[in-house]
Amino acid sequence: MSVMKRLSGIVQAKTNKLLDKAEDPRESLDLSYQKQLESLQKVRRSVADVTTAKKRIELQATQIQQQADKLQQQAKAALSQGNEDLAREALARRAALADQLADLQTQHQQVAAQEAKLIDTAKKLQAQVDAFRTKKETMKATYTAAEAQTKIGEAVSGISESMSDAGMSIQRAQDKIDSMQARAGAMDELLASGALTNLNQPVDDIQAQLDKVQATDAVDNELAAMKAELAADSPSGELPAAPTGATAVEAPSDGAAS
């Protein structure tokens, strides 16, 4: 059977639910107008929802980007220390984040598309609300009771059908937003736990190793400086071969205690 006819029947059924059977057809114009306003409110709420969802994804992308940048710097630092394995590890983790980022970008595009559609739906509905507000008063004034029955009935059916359409458009966008929000929620949890992206701990891992190397370097430098100092103090130009006197005895016991 024809897709267009079947769909027409479905829209009709939805529309019938929206129709108010008022005694006075003129009254049904006002009721329809009220419903139209409610419908407009609903679209606007959906627009706000989708905008929030979009911002959330942007925030997640920013967080992941920052972590990726950090890993990039750490890879460089590791390489400058000659630790290629550590640099490789940092870059591998950065690549995993890049995948996440690409996924978020796709989601962002989808959310933005839904946002654009809803804004469009809201605009169209607003235009109809404005048009209907004037038209219903004209209709009330012009039609006799007999004419009103058919003419107003048709207009009310028409406006109700538009509301059904808007309702279906909202539902459609909402379904997509819901599934994206579920994914965004999962991403938030993963970001918080660090499980998926290994965001916090591994980055700190790499940082710890880098810091350790730096600390070791600093200790080595200090040691070298001390050695040089002692060598300069010693008349023979060499370190004393064995401890002589109280100060020399104290030194090893300090070392053992620490």
Partner: protein, 92 residues
């Protein structure tokens, strides 16, 4: 006749264009029944384009019910199937 494209607008399509619309609709039915996504997308686009081209866009203050309804022009086969399956249960 009045044709609505869901999520888009209503158009007044000349009655003598009914035959062409029926042919495009038949192609859409065939694609839906066979589950051929590619054919479905082509058929849906062809139908929506035809309504836009042959039809006259209704003004914002034309409040009339439609005779025929075209699915959301960018919908997938699955989405359209669900839309059509929506039919029976919620009468009244």
């Amino acid at each position: 006749m009045i044709v609505r494209i869901l999520g888009e607008a209503q158009y007044e399509v000349p009655d003598d264009h009914q035959g062409d619309l029926d042919a495009l609709d038949a192609a859409l039915v065939k694609a839906v029944d066979s589950g051929d996504e590619a054919a479905f997308l082509v058929a849906l686009r062809a139908l929506a384009d035809d309504v836009r081209k042959k039809g006259q866009l209704l003004a914002d203050d034309d409040f009339v019910p439609s005779h025929l309804v075209v699915p959301f022009a960018d919908s997938s086969l699955e989405e359209t199937r669900q839309l059509l399956a929506d039919a029976r249960p919620d009468e009244g």
